[in-house]
């Protein structure tokens, strides 16, 4: 049974429509990630779920019941949830008092509060900071206080808004570790927003892509990353190669897509008939580069010139002009072995199954 259900949810700030007719159902114990670009409405969505805002239109159901309007009843429901806001706002109190305040507000006994706070501070790695004023902490430490402050309440639903945005890698890793521990151990329902795709993929059971106030696609990580529903999702989830084309033949599910005005055809797996206007999406990591043409089981071969090489940590992002622009991701080591640099001739290959076809002109 779903714990949280949103039906036809719309919200506007003044004349700006932030959420547009959103439907979503989140099950008990599920970890759901909302991904989307900045300004897509992720924070507003979380605020509405936490009952901080009343949506302009639509219904919110919590545990099967429609959320009531009275402040007292809303407070009761809100006390079953906890929301870690994006910018950690710690109170100008000691770390201990910061973490204890939610329990105090719920009228928990003093010795129980002490036990719980100590335990949770240990979990987030801040056990030595009890008496420090929370305002003197670094950003990462403050975010961990904010997380501890929410976790100590043992909420049924934990809402996290960009839990690791702008944090140092050590703090991010610690927070991700705590989140996944809590999700496993306590079976806490979690809804997190992130613009970090890999984080969503790593932590969430299910992902929803929110673009411009619309929940464009929901599904598991593979659905979203390998079968984006439309061009917007494809662009957002990092399918850098979104090529406009028309299907010219379809034989037994293998289609040939003519790309743009060129006479270049890409082979892909799809059921669309000939004549269909489509986008061919290829993830950059699914493209293999070789110095010269050599046969493999892949159906697509393109000879081209390297136009740009950028290093992204252990990976190199290679832009190739092969009549159309292709972006490939290879390891830095193989980029060096292939001596990839501007002007170098390479052969790019990818499988027909590595191409995802989406229909053009839908969901726009």
């Amino acid at each position: 049974m779903s714990l949280i259900e949103l039906v036809g949810l719309s919200h506007r700030y003044g004349s700006r429509e932030v959420l547009k007719g959103l439907n979503l159902s989140i099950g008990k114990g599920e970890v759901f990630a909302v991904i989307g670009p900045t300004g897509a409405g992720k924070t507003t969505l979380l605020r509405i779920i936490d009952l901080l805002e009343v949506p302009s239109a639509g219904e919110v159901y919590f545990d099967g019941k429609r959320v009531p309007g009275s402040r007292k009843q809303r407070l009761e429901i809100r006390r079953r949830m906890s929301f870690v806001h994006q910018k950690p706002q710690v109170f100008n109190l000691s770390v201990y008092d910061n973490v204890a305040c939610g329990l105090r507000w719920r009228g928990e006994e003093k010795h129980r509060i002490a036990e719980k706070v100590d335990l949770i501070l240990k979990m987030v790695g801040l056990e030595g900071y009890k008496n420090r004023n929370a305002r003197t902490l670094s950003g990462g430490e403050a975010q961990r206080v904010a997380l501890a402050r929410s976790l100590v309440l043992e909420p049924e639903v934990l809402l996290l808004d960009e839990p690791t945005a702008n944090l140092d890698p050590v703090s991010s890793a610690k927070i991700e570790q705590v989140i996944s521990y809590v999700a496993r151990q306590h079976n806490t329902t979690m809804i997190m927003s992130t613009h970090d795709m890999s984080q969503g993929r790593q932590l969430a059971d299910r992902i929803g892509v929110l673009i411009d106030g619309r929940l464009v696609q929901t599904g598991n990580a593979d659905d979203i990353f390998y079968s984006p529903k439309n061009e917007e999702v494809a662009n957002f989830v990092g399918v850098e190669n979104v090529l406009e084309g028309v299907i010219i033949t379809n034989s037994d599910g293998i289609v040939t897509v003519k790309i743009g005005p060129h006479r270049i055809g890409i082979q892909a797996v799809s059921n669309y008939p000939a004549g269909k206007e489509v986008y061919a999406c290829i993830r950059p990591e699914d493209i293999t580069l070789a110095p010269i043409f050599h046969r493999s089981s892949a159906r697509n071969y393109f000879q081209g010139k390297v136009t740009r090489v950028t290093t992204l940590g252990p990976l190199s992002r290679v832009e190739i002009d092969c009549g159309f622009r292709l972006v490939a991701l290879v390891t830095k080591i193989s980029a060096e072995e292939l001596n990839l640099q501007e002007g170098k001739e390479v052969c790019a290959t990818f499988k027909a199954t590595g191409v995802h076809i989406i229909e053009r002109g839908v969901n726009q």
């Binding site: 936490d50 901080l52 402040r71 407070l75 809100r78 006390r79 949830m81 906890s82 929301f83 806001h85 910018k87 706002q89 109170f91 100008n92 109190l93 305040c101 939610g102 507000w105 719920r106 904010a146 402050r149 929410s150 309440l153 809402l159």
Partner: protein
């Protein structure tokens, strides 16, 4: 010039020897203004929170009026309280004119705009996100108000200290509604005004020094609060 020096030396003697009259007057000043400040705080802190946390028509205008009243002259309040409690006035029956109670009421009215205005601005200084965070953590409206007052505690305490400073240093209202009755409603400012006009400089100077010392203590306290 020698007169002032002599007066100053005698004044310091009066303070060091803890002269009973000086101590009595200073003590009364502290009691009356302290009570006025405490009572006004008890009203203004919740009222200021109420104004801050609620949206209503004319809120901006109300705050502007409160701020304009910061510089309300104390003689005008003296006049108002005098008329209110004089024999023929609407509250004349109470018979509290020329008593410390009337002085306390006068000073409360005097510092109410300061306390209200500064409480509101202290609360406005607390980020909106603090309120959101507290709400998310399950605080009720009352618990949120307490937390925000606590977040703004330095600014709120500064407001109270400022209010106290204004109350203890005013003379117009204390004189008009207290009457400067020796041993009953004579406070530092009214005593200074009377003794000076009588030419009794040493007592005036002694009280003036104590008043200045108090002002200094208040200022140091404020400074230390703001340093935190």
């Amino acid at each position: 010039m020698t007169e002032i020096w002599d007066g100053l030396i005698k004044a310091i003697e009066l303070i060091i020897s803890l002269d009973p009259e000086v101590m009595e007057i200073a003590g009364r000043s502290l009691r009356i203004s302290g009570t006025a400040c405490l009572l006004a705080s008890l009203i203004c802190l919740p009222l200021g929170s109420l104004i801050h946390f609620h949206q209503f028509r004319g809120k901006r205008v109300l705050i502007n009026i409160i701020q304009a009243l910061f510089s309300l002259p104390s003689v005008i309040i003296g006049l108002f309280v005098f008329v209110l409690f004089s024999r023929a006035g609407p509250l004349g029956e109470l018979g509290i004119l020329f008593t410390p109670i009337a002085m306390i009421i006068g000073q409360m009215i005097l510092i109410t705009p300061i306390l209200l205005g500064l409480t509101i601005s202290a609360l406005s200084g607390v980020a909106k996100e603090i309120v959101d965070t507290a709400t998310s953590l399950g605080a009720s409206d009352f618990q949120i108000t307490l937390l925000v007052l606590r977040e703004a505690r330095y600014a709120v305490v500064a407001a109270v200290i400022l209010g106290f400073g204004r109350a203890i240093s005013e003379v117009g209202c204390a004189l008009m509604v207290g009457g400067n009755l020796k041993g009953f409603t004579r406070v530092m400012t009214t005593a200074i005004s009377l003794e000076t006009s009588k030419g009794e400089l040493e007592l005036s100077l002694a009280l003036g020094i104590i008043l200045l010392l108090l002002a200094l203590i208040v200022n140091i306290a404020l400074y230390r609060l703001q340093q935190r």
